[in-house]
């Protein structure tokens, strides 16, 4: 299955889905969006993804901001997302909120449904779950009003089942990356997760169920330097592909729209909304939600251990204030646990020469005894 093509054809997919089902498409921005509720209403939740495109119209509306957000605004203003019937944003990154707000305010689609979901940044308070449940209830009401469909417990159960199954399948694939010679590399994995965020989960589940046996039958890959990717969300696989071209592999990531998207599941309980709320409050923290007790650094360390990484790439989008303030704790734990890392800022477009220089040097630095780096060991090593 060509998952990259699924990501690239996401607009056509959503349009075809609408034509086939007559349903509504709801665009979402923030990784903490509880898709299950929208899905239970018969709506197709589609993640708004940024892409490489010259940004020529957003400047009138926004200034600064990370490139993905600028690009999202650019795409909205150019009508790329006109097929979306509604937009929802969750309390999170302010730049992302701005993209949401501009998409609504520019009135390109006057009848666009919009909703803002407040999921506490302070996720640890005993009251946080009540807030989340209350917000879920409000959102459920909005969905019912918008679609004219009453969301029953059975609808919620079905949605939870489909989403839980989906996350389990993704995790199943992720587990294969723990092999010494993984049968799936970082770029392909990231494309799967990105495709997952723009497709009907029931359909995606069928695809994944067929794909996993194919994957398990693959010949093991060659020895590669095992890297972990930490940092701002990315919406393409350019970096992973470059790593692979240079003999490495991103065997695990700690991105909001990577492992963070499928890491934990909903534990069913009678109060369905509370069950959904607890899943989102308890998912691997992104920086804005990790502002009380530090949970993210430890999670990063555990991923690094579990996936046996040689080193980490800490990559921040320029103007990403969340990772720009969180990296102190991330660098600190990586240093304390002796995990080599290389930090750099990225933009939407990854400069190939510059990034190759970094990656190549960093990976050469990681290789003990360095066999494939011409001559280095002869001079610097044991000879």
């Amino acid at each position: 299955m060509d998952f990259k093509a699924l990501v690239e054809n996401r607009h056509e997919y959503a349009k075809a889905w609408k034509a086939k089902t007559g349903g509504k498409v709801l665009g979402w921005f923030e990784p903490y969006f509880p898709e299950e509720v929208a899905y239970a209403a018969g709506v197709l939740p589609v993640r708004v993804l940024a892409k490489h495109e010259p940004d020529d119209v957003s400047d009138k509306w926004i200034y600064a901001s990370c490139y993905p957000v600028r690009d999202m605004v650019n795409q909205f203003l150019k009508g790329r997302y006109d097929y979306m019937d509604g937009l929802v944003n969750v309390e999170g990154c302010q730049w992302m909120y701005n993209a949401f707000e501009v998409a609504v305010n520019n009135k390109r689609k006057p009848d666009l449904f919009d909703h803002y979901f407040f999921l506490p940044d302070h996720t640890d308070a005993p009251t946080s779950k009540h807030v989340t449940r209350s917000e879920l209830n409000v959102f459920k009401g909005k969905m019912e009003e918008w679609t004219g469909k009453k969301i029953t417990d059975a609808d919620l159960d079905k949605a939870i089942e489909v989403y839980n199954k989906n996350r389990l399948l993704l995790k199943q694939i992720s587990e294969l990356r723990r092999m010494e010679k993984p049968v799936i590399h970082g770029a392909e994995m990231m494309n799967i997760v990105l495709a997952d965020q723009v497709m009907d989960k029931a359909e995606m589940n069928e695809i994944l169920e067929k794909f996993i046996p194919e994957l398990e039958a693959r010949e093991p890959g060659k020895d590669r330097i095992r890297l972990m990717l930490i940092g701002s969300e990315t919406f393409d696989t350019e970096l992973e592909e470059l790593v692979e071209a240079l003999g490495g592999d991103v065997v695990v990531d700690e991105l909001d729209n990577g492992t963070g998207y499928y890491w934990n599941n909903i534990i069913p309980q009678k109060d369905r909304l509370m069950a959904i709320g607890l899943k989102y409050l308890g998912r691997p923290k992104n920086p804005i939600k990790d502002n009380n007790w530090r949970r993210r650094p430890q999670h990063i360390f555990e991923l690094a251990e579990d996936y046996n990484v040689d080193g980490a790439l800490v990559v921040k989008q320029i103007y990403c204030h969340l990772h720009g303030t969180d990296n102190y704790a991330v660098w600190k734990i990586l240093r304390e646990r002796y995990i080599p890392y290389h930090f750099f800022e990225r933009d939407m477009l990854l400069p190939v020469e510059d990034t190759t220089l970094r990656l190549e040097s960093f990976m050469n630095m990681l290789k003990p005894g360095i066999n494939h780096l011409a001559g280095w060991h002869k001079v610097f090593g044991e000879d």
């Binding site: 400047d59 009138k60 509306w61 926004i62 200034y63 600064a64 901001s65 309390e91 990154c93 302010q94 730049w95 909120y97 701005n98 707000e101 501009v102 305010n105 803002y116 407040f118 506490p120 940044d121 302070h122 640890d124 308070a125 005993p126 009251t127 946080s128 009540h130 807030v131 449940r133 209350s134 917000e135 209830n137 409000v138 920086p287 804005i288 502002n291 009380n292 530090r294 921040k316 320029i318 103007y319 990403c320 204030h321 969340l322 990772h323 720009g324 303030t325 969180d326 990296n327 102190y328 704790a329 991330v330 660098w331 600190k332 930090f343 800022e345």
Partner: protein
């Protein structure tokens, strides 16, 4: 258009008192070694031995007074993981913690607890964490509750309870950890004092808005407006000071004493100015242009708005009525938070409730123009700026944008270029500079 003197001007009499209070505050934060907090926490002043330090003014002052030190502090932050495009307030202030010394070389005063200001801006929400990560001190997080659109009773209930919890928790914890007693009576006095200050501040806003020539420029207001708020001094002294300011501004308004003697052009801003380069206010005054401030500058008295009858009032802020019973600690905190969980300060009104609120503000201030800074390194103080500019232009207000890093970081502010832009703007509107 010539810009000659039109009205009488006089120096401000409250100036010296403001300097004295500010100097006292500066001294207090440099010398306090014991119990120091950080963040937007009115409750903290109701503990006898807690001194509150807000990192915004600390960071801004660092850039204003000692550029090499502020730059070093930001570098210290950058090399430890903070982005180089992170807000200067934080970079300066917490970079100082990394350096381990303050501007004069004396050791960095150790903070004993940290209360990060919740998400008025994402970077604010994140900033206090480093203090705890670095020195292992108690930290309490809260939420700045927000959602767009009108008040929603259904949403409000859980959100308000969450907010109350987030305020009560640190009070109880400080008692437990530090063995200090929170004084409910003191808290009530502080709330009463705050209410008075708000009234005075609101009146000052009206006087600036309604009087031509304006009795006060925002440059003058900025010299005092943090007193009692971001720079916490004795609550009684705060009330007395704000009364003094209000009285003087009223007297000046009644007697047509102008802040700018040749006032011909009234302009507004959005959010904070470049604290390290306030000269541009004086530069504009040479064109007869007076700055009336921003919604940010006037938030102390509550955001002004036109009432349905056309008068100017304060935006509904859901305060509890006077005399609401406050018999328990929870009652007191509840009253202090108001009935609406959402934060109704200027930032949030702009971003979440009504982005075009700035147009109304411009009209209230009788503004001819707006100079809107766009800060590359400040998410909270940049977010809506371009959109606001569009709405203002549509409403017939002249708009000029200029770029910089952040109000507490001069890195990207090209001062000459800013002045060039102001010349182009003013001269394009037919004004000529009158250099004394």
């Amino acid at each position: 258009m010539a810009t000659k003197q039109l009205w009488e001007t006089r120096p401000l009499e409250f100036w010296n008192k403001a300097k004295e209070l500010r100097a006292g505050w500066q001294k207090s934060i440099e010398s306090v070694e014991n119990v120091v907090g950080q963040g937007n926490c009115m409750w903290a002043s109701a503990f006898p031995a807690v001194t509150v330090i807000e990192d915004n003014p600390v960071g801004a002052m660092m850039q204003n007074k000692n550029e090499p030190y502020a730059r070093k502090a930001r570098l210290a932050s950058e090399i430890r993981g903070w982005g180089r495009e992170i807000c200067g307030y934080q970079g300066n202030c917490w970079g100082g913690q990394f350096l381990g010394y303050i501007e004069d070389g004396t050791p960095w005063p150790r903070r004993r607890m940290v209360v990060p200001m919740p998400c008025v801006c994402d970077q604010h929400a994140k900033r206090g964490q480093q203090a705890r990560d670095f020195e292992n001190m108690p930290q309490w997080m809260a939420d700045m509750v927000i959602y767009p659109g009108p008040f929603d009773e259904e949403r409000n209930e859980a959100l308000l309870e969450h907010k109350i919890y987030c305020s009560l928790r640190p009070i109880n914890d400080v008692e437990r950890i530090f063995g200090q007693r929170f004084s409910e009576d003191r808290m009530k006095e502080i709330m009463e004092g705050n209410k008075l200050v708000r009234e005075y501040a609101k009146e000052i806003t009206y006087l600036m808005a309604q009087t031509i020539p304006s009795p006060l420029s925002v440059k003058d207001l900025y010299s005092v407006y943090t007193i009692g708020g971001l720079t916490k001094v004795d609550p009684e002294a705060t009330v007395a000071f704000w009364k003094m300011v209000r009285d003087e501004v009223k007297w000046r308004a009644d007697n047509h004493i102008a802040a700018v003697g040749n006032e011909r052009f009234r302009w507004i801003e959005a959010h904070p100015p470049s604290w390290h380069y306030m000269k541009y206010y004086r530069y504009m005054e040479e064109y007869g242009a007076i700055c009336l401030g921003s919604q940010y500058a006037h938030m102390m008295g509550g955001a002004p708005e036109f009432k349905p009858d056309g008068s100017i009032g304060v935006r509904e802020n859901s305060q509890y009525p006077d005399g609401t019973e406050m018999s328990t600690r929870e009652d007191i905190i509840r009253v202090s938070q108001g009935k609406e969980a959402r934060s109704l300060n200027a930032f949030k009104i702009d971003e979440y409730i009504r982005r075009d609120a700035i147009v109304e503000f411009a009209k209230i201030m009788q503004a001819d123009g707006a100079l809107l800074a766009i800060w590359r390194h400040g998410v909270g103080c940049t977010l809506t700026r371009k959109e606001q500019g569009m709405y203002l232009k549509e409403a017939g207000v002249n708009v000029m944008h200029y770029e910089g890093s952040q109000p507490g970081d001069r890195t990207d502010l090209d001062e000459k270029r800013l002045l060039d832009q102001l010349d182009t703007w003013m001269q394009g509107l037919g004004f000529r500079r009158q250099v004394n």
